[in-house]
Structures are given as C-alpha cells and as structure tokens.
Symmetry: C2
Subunit: 153 residues, 2 copies
C-alpha cells in the first residue's frame, strides 16, 4: 500500500530525516505551517508505518567497530526449510546489519560490521556451521565514502 503524501508531508519527512531532534515549532516554521497540523501529520505518518523508527546514528569506528565486510553468498539449497534456517541465523546475529536476497548469479548479500578481521572469521565460521553454503566471497571495506539512510523525497 502506497500512501498519499502532499508537499508538506514530504517536507516534514525530509526535516525529520535530517534532524529528528528539532521541535515541532521549528519543523512547522520550516514547512510553512504550525504546530498542530504538523503534529497530526506526524502522528498519521507513524500510524501508517511511513515513519518506522526514531533512532541515533553512532560513530562505528569510534566505538571500535573497525571492520566492515560485504559478503556475497551462493547456495545450492533453495528449499523453504533451508531459507528459514538461514533467515533465522541472520536475524539472530547482530553483526549482520543488512541482508538482501538477490536476483541472479549471487543469491544473497550481507553487510557485516565487526570489531576486527578475527571477529569476522568467527562470524563466518559460525554461519557456515549453522547452514550449508556453497560459496562465499567477502569484500573488505577499506573506507566508508558515504553512508546515509535518507530517502530523496
């Protein structure tokens, strides 16, 4: 279900994405409205599931998460049972920040953030002991050039 948003809704979402700590008054001023309508719109956006979570971004490197891998996975198994087991393993592991099922040659891609290369190896060993995987390629990030979750509305 796609929700109808007008120009003001889009501006509000833009401001919230940019800085969710702004006050209602501030947002209202920027989008050219006032407190109450903005508050009502935000409530509806939350209820409608458009706004899913309010959170903070932390500096991963400052917190000692110095290694980031993109993991390309091929599997020979495509049964429902295997998929469920694999999905469960991914969800349980906090190192896995993203997981996508892909079209084409490669079946899955993961983004895995860990403290160091050894921690990645531990993750990798644990994963392949839990589920059968045909082929794994790990791409090591040397530098995070850009990172955002902002959608261009």
């Amino acid at each position: 279900m796609s929700v109808r948003l007008d120009e003001i809704d889009r501006k509000i979402l833009g401001e919230l994405q940019r800085d969710a700590s702004q006050s209602l008054d501030e947002i209202a001023r920027k989008v050219g409205s006032s407190k109450t309508p903005v508050w009502n719109r935000i409530r509806k956006l939350k209820e409608g599931g458009i706004i899913r979570q309010q959170t903070v971004f932390l500096d991963a490197e400052a917190l000692g998460f110095e290694a980031c891998f993109f993991v390309l996975i091929r599997t020979s198994e495509h049964e429902a049972e295997w998929q469920q087991k694999f999905l469960k393993a991914l969800k349980e592991r906090p190192e896995v920040q993203e997981a996508h099922r892909l079209a084409g040659d490669i079946d899955y891609i993961l983004k895995v953030r860990v403290k160091n290369a050894r921690a990645y190896d531990e993750f990798y060993q644990a994963l392949i002991s839990e589920v059968r995987i045909y082929n794994v390629t790990a791409l090591l990030s040397m530098e995070e050039l850009k990172s955002t979750t902002m959608l261009p509305l």
Copy 2:
C-alpha cells in the same frame, strides 16, 4: 581515537539506538541512574562525536522506492583526481545510500535505492558519463531480509 565508555554509557547508547524518542526519565530508569547524569552523559557523547545524528527511518517501499541495487565497480583509474571526481559524484547523488572503497579485485561497492529499474538506469548512465569506469556489476535486491544500523555494544 577510541573513547572510554562504561557500562552505563553503553546502555544509554543501546536505548537511544532502539528508540530515540524516549524521555530522559525513561532512559534513566532503564539504565539504573537518574535524569541529570544521563543528560550529561548524552551531551558528552554528542560532543565527542559518538552520537552523530538523530533521525527517523522511513519505510522505503511505502514511499515508492521499490528497487535497491548493490553495484560492484572496477576501475582502471587510480589517480587522486579521478577519485575526487568519483567521490564528488557519489556524494551529490541522493540515490547512493552507501559507498565503500574495497580491498581486492573489486574497487568499490555502492548501495543504490531508486523508485524502479528505469531510475537505476538513469543513475547508471549519468554516473558512467561523469567518470570513467572499467566494469560494473549490478546486483538487484529481490527482498530486504534485514536492515538495521544498530551496533551491538
């Protein structure tokens, strides 16, 4: 530079990651402290750059961003000038949610979120017209199995 955090700091960050709309009192109660010390800690974490941004996650699909690609890039160019041009192009394009420089065979990986396959093609054409790229592989996401920015503290 890695910053010293104690158990309480880590719990505060955990709570903020989980739900940044909680009140100070609520967080204080959960971490076993009280308002003012928690407030002071959060201020220091912001000043120290540990907390970088407060934002909202939006439902990309509900907003019509139905296509997500991981783009693997090989280039033959490795001069500083080319890199700067490439970096500038990535930063200017809001479709690019993530960009990493990699070690090894593949030079860069991008995560690109767009409304549909045609929008991806427009992005792709624009990119290769701006900077010389030797080889591109696009992996199309069929399903987002997991997506989080939470760090396991």
